[in-house]
Amino acid sequence: MEDDSETVAFTRRQLLASVGSGAAAGVIGSAVLAETPDSPPADGPGPSIDRQADGISESEYPYAVWQYHYNTDEPDDIGVASPINVVFPLEDATFGEFTATFERAGWTDAPLEYTLWAWDRDGERYRRPHWSSAESYFGLGGRLHVRVWQFEGTASVQAHVDSAVTPNHTVTSYFDAQVAVGELFEQAGWTVDGTLDLENATPPDHDGHASVIRR
């Protein structure tokens, strides 16, 4: 170990300066980003659903009933993917007030997401979401995620829990996200006013009833 002194290229003072500047930068960075996204947990496991229902007609309400994905086995290359599980009549609130509630909870309104569609009964065509939000842009380790359509002055929300990216996002729960969105809006002074039966029960845990949230 005689040549140890030749490998010494910095002094104890330089080492301490490095450690100190790193720690200071870390503390400052932690203080700048002081908030975390609001992610209300669900009370418990939702219902166990093992079969997808047919859903009511898309023309029944101003809300969408399903979220659709690309599927070559179906007409128009588009098939049912997942259920709309929260709806907002928005009689006494604007769409901007609705979206601001997510943003105030620290959610992003520009998450990285797969493109999906909902049926616009008025325009008679499938549309991509008008707005989306999630706890985080990637959701690498899992996240709450909503896609939203604004039809006829209402908002139709598909809320779900995304799994970690292992290797893709998959839906682990609709129920937990439905409860979380309700909680988020109740905290902001809105009211969960019962449910609307869209008959769109879907595994693993959506019973076909969408929460109705009003201000």
Binding site: E6, G22, R128, L140, G141, D162
Partner: protein, 197 residues
């Protein structure tokens, strides 16, 4: 360019440093493509959007693996600054696109990955330095980055353990594992590069 690539903060051998830059560039360019290309496709372009969904999935998984890429690069070529950039820059770019100034689980994970990659890069910079003072001093920059990112990731993780729902458990455990790796790396750095008088 060769002069830039020769910096020991970026890597020991310039050819390998170039590979590191290519990995970082591909990750970032892939992310920007996954974000912006679908915006110019019409609603009716369902097949193309389906293909782009697949591409977004590849990008997501690549960003998840970026800490592995960063640590591997640090082991292979030192260069703590570039090693730390590989896991952190794509997620920081995502946060900028998202305009989300909050401490998310994504950010905590990426910073923990950056810290692990930085400390591995710093240790390797010392080991590969062959007594070159410039290289060994560069390792101090890596040490500072590793400490800064680890402090932030640790604080964010602590807050998220209180506020986040059970659905991010996998992400928080992964972050904790990366922080443990970094602490181990810091101990190794102290042994390999500690000042001797």
């Amino acid at each position: 360019m060769t002069g830039t690539l020769d910096s020991p903060q970026l890597g020991h051998r310039s050819g390998r440093t170039l590979v590191g830059f290519v990995v970082l560039s591909v990750l970032t360019a892939g992310l920007l493509s996954a974000e912006f290309v679908p915006r110019v496709v019409d609603d009716e372009g369902r097949f193309l959007l389906w293909v782009l969904n697949g591409f977004a999935g590849v990008v997501l998984f690549s960003v998840l693996l970026a800490p592995v890429f960063g640590v591997t690069y640090g082991l292979w070529n030192g260069g703590p600054v570039l090693a730390a950039a590989v896991p952190t820059v794509p997620v920081l770019v995502g946060h900028m696109i998202a305009a989300q100034p909050v401490a998310t689980a994504d950010l905590s994970f990426a910073l923990a990955g950056g810290g692990a990659a930085a400390v591995v890069g710093a240790v390797q910079t010392v080991r590969l330095s062959d007594g070159d003072g410039r290289a060994v001093r560069a390792s101090l920059v890596g040490l500072a980055i590793a400490i800064a990112t680890t402090v932030m990731a640790g604080v964010f993780l602590w807050r998220l353990l209180v506020t986040a729902g059970p659905h991010v458990t996998v992400g928080l455990w992964s972050t904790g594992a990366l922080l443990a790796l970094t602490l181990g790396g810091l101990a190794v750095f102290a042994v390999v590069a500690g000042p001797r008088e």
